[in-house]
């Protein structure tokens, strides 16, 4: 056996940095805190790679299967002898894969932020929050039990809140951070309910016991029905609600586009590569339960994922803020991952969808972080988020241009870049399930290619705009992460992913099916070419098309009015019909009874206060009269 205790330091180092930079940061020069954060994350990253090497190559497999290993464990809260909440490190293929993704992207973002945040107010605050986020996210993925996951889940939420609201002097940023927090918090309520039902039914929090295909979670409680669904199905649906909130699935996606108010590196780290895939990770983590005891919940995952994906892809085609386009693109890609999980079966080749989902998560982290960091470099150069104010930037930002192009090609699924391989597996998984889902997947791929290249051509080609000053390439500290991530976006696809991460830990071989790959590449190329025709030179085709689509275009441009629906529900219905009566009850019944008591007391005391006149003889009179009266009364009673 190999000792994996050192893995706990992967998680703890960012926490130490958070404390160090957060509490003592103002003792150093600003740059120092950035360097500390970056180097700390570098150590974490190196440890993660070492762990991955040890786990996948050195650790002997238990009969062809990658076993689940507890690297470190401590009992944190003991409820009963059997039921206790632990804190620890669980290593299995998906958590090791996530460790690599998170530490790599986080390291890149730290490095990039040294340049991007240069001269900003709150430089140290930024780095301490970034480390806090890394700590929470790492703690989330290595969780040994669902309660630890929930704890870190909330920590991730709060660090996301802090970072979205980083520019707390800007009203829109404050509103966005509150929106993100409240929406995800609302979703987490479902998560908590799900955990409680799950642990009540199975009597354990532990992931290893829960996800054991012969364990207590399987087919448990399937006899108890509520509204036609079993207990396990309900608990999984509730848990998925939490995952959907974090992963911005319809209809809980409304916070993600607004979250782009945060600094761009934050969007790259949290709202593209790591935190938003926590929901996917959660479903993947509990996948055996979904598959064996709650197939209905898995169908819910599939439908929600597929719908969110196409919904977001359509919106992404109409937006003009580059970060918002990327946000909707993220939502669409995560929808694809959820969709792939939803169509997946369990065990070896049956689990192709599971593998595809994790694979796409892995590659997506690289190219989406790259896209966001590239967008950050563009915003840094142009000082604007709106793509109409950009154009012809390819001459000014050569490195950004090249890396952005690589990321676009990758996400559009053009071989041989990373996105092609992972998306191909997802489409193959969809194809195995049904033809309609395959066509849906193809449509999403085509739309993805279209909106990404729309973005690319409007920013880097098109007519050159008049800028306040000539845009200049970002400093090296920003372009190096771009280049490194671009390497990831090119080569990550060549990993034989299926021999590492599978639904049951048993490796299998994948191969590219021509009847899946060829249409997929074709729609990608068509999407990209269409975007080229529309946006490479200034034409009026986009206006003509949007005019001909009329109402539909307008609805998509306004994000299908989901925000307005939410506002309507909260402001008009909840405020008027729930909050108002409650407020009335509070003001009139609760406060009223208290005020009434004090009013009566006050009135009575005013009436009787004349008694206390200060006249000694008056008191004596009362006393003696009373004594005499009592005496007479007693005599009268006794004599009768």
């Amino acid at each position: 056996m190999i000792d994996f205790t050192y893995t706990v330091w992967i998680v703890l180092i960012p926490l130490i940095i958070f404390v160090l930079v957060g509490f003592f940061g103002n003792k150093f020069k600003p740059l120092v805190s950035g360097v500390i954060g970056t180097s700390g994350l570098f150590v974490s990253m190196a440890l993660s790679y070492y762990t991955a090497y040890q786990y996948f190559f050195v650790l002997p497999k238990a009969g062809d299967v990658f076993a689940k290993v507890i690297g470190y464990n401590t009992v944190w809260l003991k409820l009963t002898d059997k039921l206790h909440i632990d804190l620890g490190v669980l290593l299995d293929p998906i958590s090791v894969m996530m460790l690599i993704v998170i530490t790599t992207v986080s390291f890149m973002v730290h490095l990039y932020s040294i340049g991007y945040m240069h001269g900003e107010k709150g430089y140290m605050r930024f780095f301490s929050f970034l480390s806090l986020f890394s700590f929470s996210m790492l703690g989330l993925v290595v969780a040994t039990n669902i309660f630890q996951m929930y704890i870190f889940w909330e920590l991730v939420g709060v660090s996301s809140f802090l970072l979205i609201g980083f520019y707390y002097e800007k009203d829109s940023a404050v509103a966005a951070s509150k929106k993100a927090f409240i929406v995800t918090r609302f979703a987490d309520l479902g998560f908590l309910v799900g955990i409680l039902i799950l642990s009540f039914t199975t009597g354990t929090f532990d992931f290893i016991t829960l996800t054991d295909p012969n364990g207590p979670a399987m087919l448990q409680g399937s006899g108890i029905m509520f509204l036609g669904l079993s207990t396990m199905t309900w608990s999984m649906i509730f848990i998925f609600m939490g995952g959907a909130g974090k992963s911005a699935m319809f209809p809980l996606h409304i916070w993600l586009p607004d979250a782009m108010e945060g600094p761009t590196p934050v969007s790259a780290l949290i709202h593209a590569a790591t935190m938003v895939v926590a929901g996917v990770y959660l479903v993947a983590r509990l996948f055996p339960i979904f598959h064996f005891s709650a197939p209905v919940a898995l169908d819910v995952v599939m439908y929600v994922g597929a719908f969110s994906s196409i919904f977001a892809a359509i919106i992404a085609c109409t937006q003009f803020d580059i970060k918002r386009v990327l946000a909707y693109s993220t939502m669409s890609q995560i929808g694809l991952m959820m969709f792939a999980l939803g169509v997946s079966g369990y065990g070896e080749e049956q689990g192709l969808g599971f593998m595809a989902s994790m694979f796409h998560l892995f590659t997506h982290a690289f190219f989406k972080a790259l896209l966001f960091l590239g967008a950050g470099a563009i915003i840094h150069a142009v000082h604007s988020n709106v793509m109409n104010e950009m154009g012809g930037l390819r001459k000014h930002l050569p490195i950004t241009h090249l890396t952005f192009l690589i990321a676009c090609l990758s996400i559009a699924g053009i071989p041989p870049l990373a996105g092609f391989f992972s998306k191909d597996e997802i489409l193959a998984a969809g194809h195995e399930k049904s033809m309609i889902l395959f066509i849906l997947g193809l449509t999403i791929s085509g739309l993805t290619a279209f909106y990404m290249f729309r973005l690319y051509f409007s920013i880097f080609w098109g007519k050159e705009q008049h800028y306040h000053h000539t845009p200049h390439e970002a400093p090296k500290v920003m372009t190096i992460p771009l280049m490194l991530l671009a390497l990831g976006a090119i080569f990550a696809g060549f990993l034989p992913f299926a021999s590492f991460v599978t639904s049951d830990g048993k490796p299998f071989a994948t191969h590219i099916e021509p009847f899946v790959a060829i249409p997929a590449v074709l729609v990608g190329v068509i999407g990209a070419l269409l975007a080229m025709v529309f946006y490479k030179k200034e034409t009026n085709i986009p206006e003509r098309i949007s005019a001909s689509l009329g109402g539909f275009y307008h609805a998509a441009f306004r994000k299908f009015y989901i925000d307005e629906v939410y506002l309507f529900i909260t402001k008009k219905i909840i405020f008027n019909y729930v909050s108002q009566p409650i407020a009335w009850f509070d003001r009139h019944i609760v406060d009223g009874s208290m005020n009434g008591i004090s009013y009566v007391t006050n009135g009575v005391s005013t009436k009787i206060k004349g008694f206390q006149s200060g006249q000694l003889q008056q008191y004596a009179w009362v006393f003696i009269t009373g004594a005499v009266a009592l005496t007479l009364a007693f005599i009268y009673l006794w004599t009768n």
Binding site: G610, Q612, S613, G614, Q615, L616, Q617, W621, I624
Partner: protein, 105 residues
């Protein structure tokens, strides 16, 4: 029993003293006079104690002792009361009980 003096005479004297004391306490405005009325009340009780002791338990002396005890307490009480009255006088240059109404509502 008291060599021709009947018990009722003692009681009549004590009752008259008691109600004179009550009357004085309620009516007079001078604090010293009120204190004197209080002494009358106490002494009327003393007479009752002594008379009943003699009537009911001629061989015991508890009633006598009790009245002596009351006299002692009354003496100390009077000294405290006079001290208070002197302090009131120093403050208000007056010992009219109706003027002392600071402690009202």
């Amino acid at each position: 029993m008291f060599d021709g003096v009947p018990l009722s005479w003692f009681l009549i004297v004590a009752t008259i003293m008691f109600f004179v004391g009550i009357y004085g306490f309620l009516v007079r405005k001078n604090l010293i006079t009120m204190l004197m009325s209080l002494e009358l009340i106490l002494n009327s009780v003393n007479i009752n104690f002594v008379a009943f002791n003699k009537l009911l338990y001629p061989n015991h002396l508890e009633g006598m002792f009790f009245s002596i005890f009351i006299i002692a307490v009354a003496a100390s009480e009077a000294s405290v009361a006079i001290a208070i009255i002197i302090n009131i006088y120093r403050r208000l240059v007056n010992i009219d009980v109706e003027k002392m109404e600071e402690m009202k509502y």
